[in-house]
């Protein structure tokens, strides 16, 4: 069973929302709705998120991504469609039921941290436990453990205003982790941070995820970030324009909206050896150096340069899949190769 599922979900703001949904269902683009006073934020979203997956929702501001994430924990009510969290449909829950679901199953990290300025780091982290009415000794122990887990050990008695942006967001992350929910919603969680700190936080999130295996819905407007951390990425513009893995989106962008984003992505950090490899040249390759199929292109440079022959790409059971040549690597890095036709070439050769 999927941890989170969304079925033909719509959110339209303003009076006459239901009529607008009917129009959108018949395929009218959101710019051409007859009622100009409504805003269609989320249009016909359908997806399932597996347990332990990092699902990234990417889009520009106004693409409905913040509305979407707020519907997943019931902060915003959908206009139409349904949401299942851990097999429970949100629409069928009372206010109390929704509050219990938020306490026990879904927690959230906010763009501007949303910490209580008058509470210490430890007290902020314990917020979720406090609301759950966890006994205070257990609460303090658990909060302290989480504070240490995100690398803020020793800072637990400071106030948020005494911390840097990156540290504050670690508090936000710790608060969500301390609540011990299976699902973590992250609303532009790293967008307000400096680029270097942002990268550090991404690494930390991935590191934590290795042991925690949470189901994470991550909202961002930065495709580089999306591709770094996402198992799957949904690109939104009201509707979901494309949903797939980072590689899918990079190699086969669905339309111009998507390829505009992919143009400035660092492709070498997304594409793997398997994605850029060419078919066997037909000669004996048994003496060639081997690389794992999921090695990133950025990690192949040295090996390719130092080797006379192409590298052989092997899968987990060491079966050869294809070869990587310097030419293949250079070709993969040029965005012109985006179009599906260009992509077919190596196979025809």
């Amino acid at each position: 069973m999927s941890a989170l599922a969304v079925d033909s979900l719509y959110k339209v703001f303003g009076k006459g929302a239901h009529q607008a949904v009917a129009e959108l269902k018949s395929g009218v683009p959101r710019e051409e709705l007859t009622n100009k006073k409504v805003t269609a934020a989320v249009i016909d979203h359908n997806f399932e998120i597996a347990s332990g997956e990092i699902f990234v929702v990417m889009g520009l501001s106004g693409s409905g991504k913040s509305t979407l994430i707020r519907m997943l924990n019931g902060l915003v009510e959908p206009t139409a469609g349904s949401i299942w969290v851990d097999g429970v449909e949100l629409g069928g829950l009372s206010n109390k039921g929704i509050r219990e679901l938020r306490r026990d199953k879904v927690s959230m990290v906010f763009q501007h941290f949303a910490l209580l300025p008058h509470r210490t780091v430890l007290e902020n982290v314990a917020l979720g436990l406090e609301i759950k009415k966890t006994p205070s000794a257990e609460r303090a122990a658990k909060a302290l453990e989480t504070v240490e887990m995100v690398g803020l050990g020793g800072q637990e008695d400071k106030l948020p205003s005494q911390l840097s942006g990156g540290m504050r967001q670690r508090v936000g992350l710790a608060r969500a982790l301390a609540a011990d929910t299976e699902i973590l919603l992250m609303d532009e969680a790293f967008s307000a941070l400096d680029p270097l700190i942002r990268q550090e936080m991404q690494d930390q999130l991935l590191e934590l995820q290795k042991t925690l295996r949470k189901t994470i819905v991550f909202i961002t407007h930065d495709l580089n970030e999306a591709m770094r951390i996402g198992d799957r990425i949904a690109i939104c513009d009201g509707r979901i324009v494309q949903l797939g893995t980072a590689e899918d989106i990079l190699m086969h962008p669905a339309n111009d909206y998507v390829s505009e984003f992919t143009a400035d992505v660092d492709r070498s950090r997304v594409l793997t050896a398997e994605a850029v490899m060419e078919p066997f040249p037909g000669t004996d390759t048994s003496d060639f150096e081997k690389v794992e199929s999921d090695t990133l292109v950025s990690e192949l440079y040295e090996q390719v340069l130092s080797s006379e022959d192409p590298l052989v790409v092997v899968d987990e059971s060491s079966d050869p899949l294809g070869v990587v040549t310097p030419r293949a690597i250079i070709k993969s890095l040029a965005p012109e190769n985006d179009s599906p036709e260009a992509d077919q070439e190596p196979q025809q050769a």
Binding site: R103, V106, H112, A114, P117, H118, G128, I131, K132, R175
Partner: protein, 299 residues
């Protein structure tokens, strides 16, 4: 042409109208209240007089010298030793004038009025911040309360309660309540939306969000409102003196009537030092709210 219009209005609009009735309606309403609801009003009177006289007696129970030290101590504890010194000297000067007793009565009246006004203002402010309709209804009512000249509502209050402390206290409550309501509403509405959302996202109930998240964050603004409530209450005591409110107000009113400059000035000094004491102590308390302290630490 204009003359013609004026004549036309006079002949066809104003002259046929009966006398303007709003004032008469108010008059009959007050008379009706006085006869039919007299039990309620005497109850209110007993209640207000009990706490007012109780507090005034308590303030006058200790000798003035000890009270001066007590005021200075409160100021020291609330803000700093410098303020303690200023308040000590100020209160000493007040004790030096012949109006120590009147000053304590005034202080009691300000405290009673401000406490009741606060007890009413904060719940109304909370309601107005949560509910759009309540907010739209309270706004014009507050404007009305603040702009209607105090003498105008003193009249019906005196009719209902007679001359004495009660009408003074009630007029003061009406006059000083609006900023309490307004700043409570403002403070609660200004709380960062994301922080409230965080409370919701972790499953907090609306009551918990109000008490544990919104109120602490709005407290500095609410305290600023309460400071204004107290200052307005103090400014109202002179007018309360006109209806037999006692305290410094009646001293000033009688000084005004007899053109006694010395008496008026002495009572005026006492009002000023009382104002300094109340204002600075409230400011000191506002700076001590957890949120204000956290903000100060960031600097």
């Amino acid at each position: 042409m204009i003359e013609y219009l004026r004549d036309w209005f006079w002949t066809y609009i104003w002259k046929p109208l009966p006398d303007m009735p709003f004032g008469d309606w108010m008059d009959s309403l007050i008379r009706w209240l006085r006869t039919e609801w007299s039990a309620l009003f005497s109850g209110i009177e007993v209640f207000l007089e009990t706490i007012y006289f109780g507090l005034a007696d308590a303030l006058l129970w200790l000798p003035s010298g000890l009270m001066i030290l007590l005021f200075a101590g409160i100021a020291w504890a609330a803000k700093s030793w410098k303020l303690g010194l200023v308040v000590g000297v100020g209160m000493f000067i007040v004790g030096w004038t012949p109006y120590w007793e009147a000053t304590m009565e005034t202080l009691a009246m300000v405290v009673v009025s401000a406490l009741i006004a606060t007890a009413l203002a904060i719940p109304i402010g909370i309601l107005a911040s949560e509910n759009r309709i309540a907010s739209t209804v309270t706004r014009p009512v507050l404007d009305f309360m603040q702009t209607l000249p105090a003498f105008v509502y003193l009249l019906p209050v005196v009719m209902l309660f007679g001359i004495g402390e009660t009408p003074g206290i009630i007029a003061t409550i009406v006059f000083c309540m609006p900023p309490g309501v307004r700043l409570t509403e403002l403070g609660l509405r200004q709380v960062d939306r994301e922080v409230v959302e965080a409370g919701q996202a972790f499953g907090a109930s609306p009551a918990r969000i109000l008490l544990r998240i919104k109120m602490p964050l709005a407290l500095p603004t609410i305290m600023a409102g309460l400071n204004q409530v107290i200052m307005l209450a103090l400014s109202m005591v002179v007018i309360a003196g006109m209806v037999g409110g006692g305290g410094l107000g009646s001293q000033i009113v009688s000084a005004l009537g007899r053109v006694e400059i010395a008496q008026g000035f002495n009572a005026g000094i006492a009002v000023v030092f009382l104002a300094i004491f109340l204002d600075r102590v409230m400011q000191g308390l506002a700076d001590r709210t957890p949120v204000a302290r956290a903000a100060a630490m960031a600097r």
